[in-house]
């Protein structure tokens, strides 16, 4: 359970699973397996669960892909490569990737300060990290607009600019890297770092050679989650960015305007592209976790 103490966020579960899972699974496997096969009752439960997931997730997502390809490859391609859509894709991918990199740096620094530094108010900052997770996205957009919009008390108005897209995405993706890195940092053995520094390594060399390699899988997971969230963000951008075609319009807004115009085929084509990215991110996470788990055992 170590490491989960400060990790109220769901995403963190990735890392928690990475840490105890390999041994835990092995110990379960070593026990008699007689009840791990499905019984009548659990078989029924599995049936209900699969039916539920099919109705809620599987069939609807399949319908998106089905609708996207129903018009043939030509229509699919045309929907994806319409100039306004291409601009939205370009902006979304660029901002999501840029902010994911910013999070890699800032998230690691924040995690380091929260774990290794001791100062008054640290507990509060620790809760502040999770606010973007819990806060409704439309409210996130509203509060950012009140500080960085036309009626800003500090005279900074970036509403309806590309900067505002980056700001909103930085807000909603803040917790990802912090929450994946923190538990790993907490479990890191300090004596290796002490040994390195007693052998004359500078603190930068110690960080780069000793700490950073152990954090790399966690940072990668956090960056992947942050990128996926950035690509798919909608609610926090609605009020803040003005949704101006070819300038501040992101992919989700593009999908929604297709839906509102009744162009479900085009909406489904872009949505399919987004689903492919979401799946690619999940596959990356799975890969990173397997690698980290193998490394641990």
């Amino acid at each position: 359970m170590t490491g989960t103490a400060l990790a109220p966020a769901p995403v963190i579960r990735d890392e928690v699973i990475v840490e105890p899972a390999p041994t835990a699974i092995r110990s379960v496997r070593a026990q008699p397996r007689y009840h791990r096969r499905l019984t009548a009752a659990s078989g029924l439960g599995l049936g209900v669960a699969v039916l539920w997931l099919s109705l809620l997730v599987l069939i609807p997502l399949a319908a998106v892909v089905g609708t996207a390809v129903a018009g043939g490859p030509g229509a699919f391609w045309a929907a994806l490569t319409a100039p306004q859509t291409l601009n939205a894709i370009g902006l979304t991918v660029a901002v999501a990737a840029g902010i994911a990199l910013l999070n890699a740096v800032m998230g690691t620094i924040i995690a380091w300060v929260l774990v290794r530094d001791r100062f008054w108010g640290r507990g509060v900052l620790n809760v502040v990290i999770d606010i973007p997770f819990a806060m409704p996205t439309i409210v996130a957009g509203l509060v950012l607009l009140s500080l960085y919009g036309p009626r800003s008390p500090i005279g900074v108005n970036i509403a309806n600019t590309r900067m505002s897209v980056a700001l909103a995405i930085a807000f909603v993706t803040l917790p990802f890297v912090v929450r994946t890195v923190m538990p790993v940092l907490e479990e890191l053995e300090l004596d290796v770092e002490e040994a390195a520094s007693s052998l004359g390594a500078s603190s930068w060399v110690t960080f780069r050679r000793i700490v950073l390699p152990s954090l790399a899988p966690a940072i990668t997971s956090g960056v992947a989650l942050s990128f996926a969230r950035g690509i798919s963000e909608y609610g926090s951008l609605v009020l803040l960015t003005g949704n101006m075609p070819n300038r501040t319009e992101v992919v989700s807004v593009r999908v929604l305007s297709h839906i509102e115009n009744g162009e479900l085929g085009s909406a489904a084509a872009i949505a399919t592209g987004m689903l492919v990215i979401a799946l690619a991110v999940l596959a990356t996470l799975d890969l990173v976790q397997r690698k980290a788990a193998r490394h641990d055992s």
Binding site: V139, Y148, S203, L279
Partner: protein, 269 residues
């Protein structure tokens, strides 16, 4: 502890404090100042508006449904994933994680394509008297979808960690499956279930994009609290928008504070 150079340590500390104040604390604090800028006027205006009251009632109803469904289903799926072997287990666990990285707008579109009136399934349900899209069931479905992984992701690691020794002991002493679940399994995962429920609660209260697509956003009928924030703000009723946003913020912050206060206590026990 290795000694980092003190100036560097202080610089990083202030960098973090400054970043978090500018990105989160200051903006979020403005929802409070803006709500109470004219005393209680904004809150009074908001809570006497029939549209706002109806939106809050709908959000409460949808949240309760979504949390209960995700609680029952989440605990069940977690048990299946951890305690049983079956074909397709990895597919199931990936499927359960998928809602975390799918855009809310895509979630809404997916549900709409299957359950709208002129689709096969949606049409059949409509003939039976159930309207899903542009009605409460669709809003509940969208909310359940986006909050789906939260309970499962809390419960699965704890189930793995506690192992099944006690369950096997209880079963070998003659406990029925139901008794073992209520008396042995559930008590050992109760805190994970509580965290999952609180996180699902926060997520359900705040869902916006998916609900916007499937609800049709009809004031007094299918408009939820988050949709009311958008509409009132766009209609220049900013005071009302801030008042509803304030209420949602209080609920969200209460949820995460509750989780972070409860969690260390469990580790100590």
């Amino acid at each position: 502890m290795i000694r980092e150079p003190r100036p560097l340590k202080l610089a990083l500390r202030w960098l973090v404090i400054g970043y978090l104040i500018l990105l989160v604390l200051w903006p979020v604090s403005l929802v409070v100042t803006n709500t109470f800028a004219d005393g209680l006027t904004n809150l009074k205006t908001a809570f006497t508006s029939p549209a706002v009251l109806s939106a809050l009632r709908l959000t409460a109803k949808v949240t309760i449904w979504a949390v209960v469904l995700n609680l029952v289903f989440g605990v069940g799926v977690s048990l299946l994933l951890v305690r049983y072997d079956f074909w397709g287990k990895r597919v199931l666990s990936t499927l359960v994680d998928l809602p975390l990285s799918v855009s809310p707008v895509v979630v809404g579109l997916a549900l709409m394509l299957v359950y709208r009136r002129d689709s096969a399934i949606g049409g059949a349900l409509y003939d039976l008297g159930y309207q899903i899209i542009f009605a409460t069931p669709g809003i509940i479905a969208a909310t359940v979808f986006v909050a789906l992984p939260l309970v499962i992701r809390e419960v699965v690691p704890v189930l793995i960690e506690v192992g099944d020794d006690q369950e096997q002991a209880a079963r070998s002493l003659g406990g029925s499956g139901w008794q073992v679940f209520w008396r042995v399994t559930l008590p050992s995962i109760r805190w994970a279930v509580v965290y999952g429920v609180v996180l699902a609660l926060a997520r359900s209260l705040g869902e916006f994009g998916a609900v916007k697509v499937v609800s049709g956003n009809i004031s007094l009928r299918t408009q939820t609290a988050t949709l009311a924030v958008e509409e009132t703000y766009a209609n220049f009723q900013q005071g009302t928008a801030y008042a509803v946003a304030f209420l949602l913020t209080v609920a969200a912050v209460a949820c995460i504070t509750a989780v972070s206060l409860l969690r260390p206590r469990e580790d100590a026990s």
